[in-house]
Symmetry: C2
Subunit: 188 residues, 2 copies
DNA sequence: GGGTACATGTAATCAGTTACATGATTTA
DNA sequence: TAAATCATGTAACTGATTACATGTACCC
């Protein structure tokens, strides 16, 4: 077994610790609307991940014969050990903010603040991003309001970062939008 | 050609627009210390990406015969068109904050704020994260101070998000640490 | 002129995604 | 009970990462 597994593996281990006997499909449901906001992967990967973890002896699966042939998954002792270990060993991995809007901003031409010159591409980008992040923020607020997350739970704490990020980025794009509509260095 | 390319493709197109004739190796240099903070991939992928873009007719390459057999890359007209189009078409993709520290926090047991109960795993995690994000913040501040980014440039604007994110997340982990007993960093 | 660090590329492997297929359940 | 929807899985393909190999310059 490799010394370090891909993140999807730890997500599966972590979820199985909380929800023993879940099927990959059910894991997918848990992921969407929670940790999937931060680190997502398609459902099919959960099947592959499950297979890999079984091969590594960290998970056992039991597949129904006939019908839907569901695979129910549970951690082995070694899987639990691996999870505990991952949770407690220091990481030196750094954060990446995967955001297509930011990437597009980065590659705008240097005169991007000059709306006349570029058909206000940045103004449009900003407007679209404000809208998209507003929707995301509302989703997060809905989650909090739903009360499904314990007040001091690690899930609630993690979501807090999502909330603060969305507030921050909305403010950022508003500033960009303002500079785009009213260029600070007008062409003349 | 697929209607939508992977992000690494747009990064290569965007960089080649600014640095025509660059080699994959040189692109790697540009990426590290700039957009790579947000969206990174290993150098070898730039070779593969270059090959793919050439196959799609978006890039032309010229490989030295003998010696290091460098490949210099440039956009074709169609490559430029593809880049312009990507820069101006609306995206519905959402942000993902890939952060291993947050993921670990998410999977802590519910009593995570109770340091007695878990060997203060969370306190350690928070301390480590405060340290790591402090270093990252310092790097960003160094970039700004270096003056290599134009004051109103899109690169500077993008970096601003990095700066605000790091400040936000450091504040977050300080709060987490405060709820735990492991000695926290002095406030800077 | 031999060692060290930098520059460059390729091949093999592994992970992730898309597209598809089928079984079960609800509801008009 | 047919149509629609939800649940579940697999296979084929594409993308990403690791490991390796070699070339060039620098410097003592």
């Amino acid at each position: 077994m490799p010394t370090t597994l891909p993140m999807s593996a730890y997500v599966v281990l972590g979820l199985l610790d909380r929800h023993p006997g879940a099927t990959p499909y059910q894991l997918d449901q848990h992921i969407r609307g929670s940790i999937g906001y931060f680190w997502s992967f398609p459902r099919s990967q959960l099947y592959e991940e499950a297979g890999r973890l079984v091969r590594h002896g960290l998970v056992v699966e039991h597949q129904e014969r006939g019908g839907r042939r569901r695979r129910t998954l549970s951690l082995t002792d070694e899987g639990r050990r691996e999870l505990r270990q991952w949770l407690t060993t220091p990481t030196q991995a750094v954060t990446e903010i995967h955001d297509e809007g930011l990437l597009r901003l980065y590659f705008q031409s240097p005169d991007f603040a000059d709306a006349e010159n570029n058909g206000d591409a940045v103004g449009r980008l900003a407007a679209e991003q404000i809208q998209a992040h507003g929707a995301r923020l509302a989703e997060y607020e809905g989650l909090v309001a739903s009360g499904r997350l314990g007040a001091g739970s690690p899930q609630r704490a993690t979501l807090e970062v999502g909330l603060r990020f969305e507030q921050m980025i909305i403010g950022f794009w508003r500033e960009i939008a303002a500079a785009s509509t009213y260029p600070s260095e007008p062409t003349r």
